[in-house]
Structure formats: C-alpha cells, structure tokens
C-alpha cells in the first residue's frame, strides 16, 4: 500500500450497500456471511454464498478489495459454522478475513496459509505488545483499534506495532472497549461476543405512556422520550438513568452521538494510520453511499496536501445530517471526552 495514503474501508450489509460503497469510492468493503459468526448479526443483513460471489465479482471489477468479518467469539455450538465460514472466505478469495477469537485465528493460520488475517476491533487489542502478540503468533498484518485510545496513545501504538493500524473514521460510537462489553447480554441474553448482536431487535419494545414514549430492552427502561423528542434506537450505553442518590435522569454513559474524524484526517495520516473504517453494516445503501462519497473526497484532499487539509463545510454538514442525535464527537481520540 502507498505509505502516503489511507485506505477507505466501507461497510456492506448486503449487495446494494456494497455497490453503493464501491461506486462512491471505497478502496475496500467489509462484509459478513449470515449468522452468528459476525458482530452485526441482524435480520435481513449480510451475505449468503451466492451474494458473496456476486459482491466479490462486482468489487473486483472496480479494483476494490473485499474483507470478510468473522468477528464474534464462536462458542462450541457454532464452532463448525465459524471454521466453515473461514473456509468459504479462503475459497472465494477474499482479500482478508477480520477475526477476533484466538481459536479461530489459530484455525485460519494453520488451515489457510495464504489467507490474509486482520484483527477485528472485537479483539480488544489496545497496546503495541498486544498487537505484536497477534502479529507474531498468527501472522496478523492489520488490526482495527478499539475506540478507547487518545490521539497520542494511537501514535505511540503505531510507533511500536509491527502491523498496520486501521481506525474508525465515522459512524456509531462504541463507548466500551469492543469485545469487552456484555451490557447487552446482561439485559437480553445476546451480546456482540456471543451472538453478534448488541441490543437485539427482538428484545426492544416501544410503549406509549402518560410520561412519554418508553424504550424498553427486555423490560429494562432505557429511556423515556417526550412528545417531539427524537428517539434513537435503545442501546444501553446511550440511555438516560439515575445515578446514586440524584433524582435527575442523565446520559450517565454517553449521549446519542456519532464518531467523526473528518477534522483530524491529516493528523491520522501523519502518525501512520493505514486505513480508515466507516461503521455501519446495518445502515442503508443510501447512507453507505453518502458516507463513502464524503470520506472519499475528504481523503483525496488530505492525501493531495495533508498540510493544507481543511474539511469543507459541506462535508461536515452532510456527515452531521447522518449522525445519531445529529451530534458528533472525536470520542476517546480527544482526551477530554474520556
């Protein structure tokens, strides 16, 4: 890869989203097979084998890479499905598989020696020593960093890590260390690690009451929305709660907001980040297309002249319009967020 460029890695929850990403300037798309082997296991989402072949052919035709995410921690009952998914990835010739589980990494490294391995954000590797462990033991060549490090910490990691670093550039913000969050299974039984699902739709109920519209997750009151208040999808980390003896209800964990690195792309390039990932395999093709188009323009400007890079107002406003709660944050990259 050209050292002076960051690869734009875009989400594809299905073929229409893949096409939108490819047509709008993705360098690579990431996708998954259907089922509990990936961290976005939502109804109607992801690829069967035939769709995968079609997707790979379409992407290849336009010179775009395809990565396959297999990033849950398969329990014994789906172990065979998980190894079969690795086999499918190898047989179909994806450019890399994105894994988190050590057992599955071992299987992939031993069984498919030519298969390129990336460490998923779900792998929770936050230090150079952790990353180098995966590199040396399994031959992982790229890792996606959890959204917990400040900018200077990311730079320190890159200095000592012997693999390429990918960071999230835009989309929903996980507040917790990815791969280390069991809030969803605590309330519903299903988590990203076990079922590839956070706040699964089957557990969500909307109830109209005199106090407003309640969002409940398996009975747990996540938030109450007054008439006219915009109501986001109820995830535990973005609900309003009471803390301690205080009667006020507050966003005790995080507000509904999206991550955006639009303003700091040139800094990410300078410290040696090799790829920018857009979150959102659960998003519509229109969303994926627009987010890809904006980030493509921004990255092109950034690559052309990093020192003079300034995001155009229309890029910022387009991304803002696609953000949760219409607000954005740098998340942990900005120390004060922490």
């Amino acid at each position: 890869m050209n050292p002076d460029r960051m690869e734009l890695v875009c989400p594809a929850g299905g073929f229409p989203a893949l096409r939108a990403a490819v047509d709008n300037g993705a360098d690579a798309v990431y996708l998954s097979l259907r089922g509990e082997t990936n961290a976005r296991n939502f109804p109607g989402l992801n690829f069967d084998r035939k769709a995968l072949q079609k997707g790979i052919a379409y992407a290849r035709g336009k010179g775009v890479k395809v990565y396959m995410a297999l990033n849950t921690y398969p329990q014994p009952d789906i172990w065979t499905a998980a190894t079969q998914a690795v086999d499918v990835a190898a047989e179909e010739g994806v450019n890399a598989v994105i894994l988190a589980d050590m057992g599955l990494l071992r299987y992939a490294a031993d069984t498919h020696k030519d298969l390129t391995l990336h460490l998923s954000v779900q792998g929770s590797a936050t230090t150079a020593d952790a990353l180098n462990f995966y590199h040396e033991r399994y031959g992982v060549v790229r890792a996606v960093l959890p959204r917990v490090l400040s900018m200077s910490q990311v730079a320190q990691v890159i200095e000592r890590a012997r693999l390429d670093i990918e960071v999230f550039g835009f989309g929903s913000l996980c507040v917790m260390v990815e791969g280390r969050c069991m809030l969803s299974s605590y309330a519903t039984g299903d988590s990203p690690n076990t079922k590839g699902a956070c706040s699964p739709a089957h557990a969500v109920r909307w109830i109209e009451t005199g106090r407003g519209r309640e969002a409940r997750l398996n009975g747990v009151l996540i938030d109450t929305f007054k008439p006219g208040e915009s109501a986001g999808y109820p995830v535990i980390c973005k609900g309003r709660y009471q803390v301690g003896s205080c009667d006020d209800t507050i966003y005790a964990i995080e507000e509904p907001t999206s991550l955006s690195t639009l303003d700091i792309l040139a800094d990410l390039l300078k410290i040696g980040v090799k790829a920018i990932k857009l979150e959102g395999r659960q998003r519509s093709p229109a969303y994926v297309g627009q987010a890809t188009r904006v980030m493509r323009q921004a990255l092109d400007a950034c690559h052309a002249n990093p020192d003079a890079y300034t995001p155009r107002p229309e890029w910022a406003s387009q991304l803002a319009g696609m953000s949760e709660g219409r607000t954005q944050t740098l998340g942990a990259l900005h120390r004060a967020w922490q």
């Binding site: 014994p76 050590m102 309330a187 209800t249």
Partner: protein
C-alpha cells in the same frame, strides 16, 4: 474444589485494603488474587505494597496470584505490567492480550477478561503457558460443561460464583462523569464509593453499578445453588469477588457448601440478609440480570 478470592474491584483507602487482607489471612480460601485491575490511577497501594500483602498471605498458606489491568492504554501502564510479570515470586492473572504477550512461556492464569469462548482458544492459552482459565461471565452452564470437558491437559477451570459481574470497560470514567469531572482530574472520586455508584433506570430499578471506567451488574452474581453441579463437573476453582461488606460470610457460606457442611439452600439463606438481591441469569443461558431462586432444595 478450591475456593479463591478475586481482586478487589473497587478503590478503597490503603488502610481498609490492609485490614481486609489481614482478615483474609484467617479465612478459608485457598487462592487470593491481588492488585488493581480497573484503573491505574488508583495508587493507594504501590507495587511494593501489593507484594508485601502477597508475602503475608503466602505465609498464611494462601496461593497468591497478581492480577493485571483489564484495559491497558498508557505507556506507564505497560512498564508497570512488565515489572509485575517479572516479579519472580507470584504467578500473574492476565486480563488482556498485552499481558499474554509479555508473559509468554511463563505459567499464568487467563483471567475472566480474556475472551475464552471455545476449546480452540483453550488450547491456544495452554500452549502459551496458561495453567488455569477463568470462564467469561456471560457463558452458560451448558457451554462451561463442554469447554471443561474439552480442556487440554494441565489447564484448570475457574468460575466466578459470587460477586458483581464486570460487564464492560471504557476509556471514559463514568464515576468522574457522574461528578462532572474530567477523567484527567477525577479527584480520585472512586474513593467515595467503596461499593461503586448505583445506576438505576427511570422507574427506579437498580440496573448497573458504576465503578470508574468499569460497569458492573447492580447485584452480585450468586451461583450457590449451582455448586453441586459445579462439583459434579469437576470444576477446579470457584471464585468470590470481594464486596466491602459481607465477604467473609459469603466465603464461609461457599466453604460450608464445598465441604458438605451446608446445603446450598442453607448457604443461600445465610447470604440473603446481606444483599437485597442476586442475579444468576447467565448460568442458564439467559439475560445475566435475571435471578431465579429454585423452589426445591
């Protein structure tokens, strides 16, 4: 079956920690895990203090294991970890992949924050030196049974049977946030909450516990009624996670159950006055917050 005491998850004043472990010397536990696992800013005890506590517990006949931070971010944390791994006297409990990388080849315990969800991962851990794995808290009896049977030789299994469940870690400090303080000048607010800070839903139900950068269950997980099954499976170690109050009674309840001096029901009845509610849903493969006291026994 051995009984272990997990690391203190909260931030207590130095004196309280010292008193706690002085008492632990007399408790019927076999293994004691020591050290700060949540936040590197919690420095009431320095590394040398922890080793001193470790020596005293070892002299009292306990097996001591030094636990590592669950979330490693800063360079200073790595340097401290390197020193801990090389302490030369006590085994470590690895709680993230940084410790896996640094302890390669040395015997270690793969802690509850290492994602161990299948037998393939158990083989990997054994291969790099693990002598024991601690089941991730969200796994069920069914998964535990299969994994325990499939474990490689030389690898023991440990299960958290009592204590608030560590559910999530973040770069953000939620205790500081609740006090409207930035993390970098948190005023060590965690010292004010020896049992964490309760988080309730808008209808007043206890839901979670805020403990610095960690979120825990509101109520302690309690698998006392599963003890006969855990013993029948041949689980090697069961772990109790310390609470500021009532831990000794919990230790004695589980010990009584292991030794056959108390039925699970008697042991549960002994713990009930100490805690308003428990949870055990993960054990059955359900939502972790559930609590289903069996009506039999």
């Amino acid at each position: 079956m051995k009984l272990s005491l997990g690391p203190i998850q909260y931030y207590w004043p130095r004196e309280r920690v010292m008193e706690f472990y002085a008492a632990v010397e007399q408790w019927p536990v076999d293994i004691v895990y020591l050290g700060e696992t949540v936040c590197s800013k919690r420095r009431e005890l320095r590394a040398a203090d922890w080793l001193e506590v470790a020596d005293r517990l070892a002299a009292a006949g306990k097996t001591v294991v030094m636990s590592t931070l669950a979330l490693m971010e800063a360079e200073s944390e790595r340097l401290a970890l390197e020193r801990l791994v090389q302490n030369g006297r006590f085994m470590i409990e690895a709680n993230d992949a940084t410790s896996l990388g640094l302890s390669l080849g040395k015997p270690f315990v793969a802690g509850p924050n290492i994602n161990t969800y299948n037998a393939g991962t158990l083989r990997e851990l054994r291969d790099i030196g693990a002598v024991r794995w601690v089941m991730p808290v969200e796994l069920s009896r069914h998964i535990l049974e299969g994994m325990h049977k499939a474990r490689p030789d030389g690898l023991e299994t440990e299960v958290l049977v009592f204590g608030r469940l560590p559910l999530a870690f973040s770069a953000r400090c939620f205790t500081a946030r609740a006090r409207n303080l930035p993390k970098d000048s948190c005023e060590l607010a965690c010292l004010d909450y020896p049992a964490g800070l309760p988080l309730a839903t808008q209808d007043g139900s206890g839901f979670l516990t805020i403990n610095g950068i960690q979120l825990q269950s509101a109520d302690p997980n309690n698998l006392i009624e599963a003890m006969p099954e855990l013993q029948a499976m041949g689980i090697d170690v069961v772990r109790i996670s310390p609470e500021p109050e009532g831990t000794e009674a919990v230790v004695r309840a589980f010990r009584g159950c292991i030794d056959g001096n108390l039925t699970p029901r008697q042991a549960l009845d002994a713990m009930k006055p100490l805690f308003p509610r428990f949870c055990d849903g993960y054990w059955e493969g359900d939502a972790g917050m559930n609590w289903r006291e069996s009506v039999s026994a």
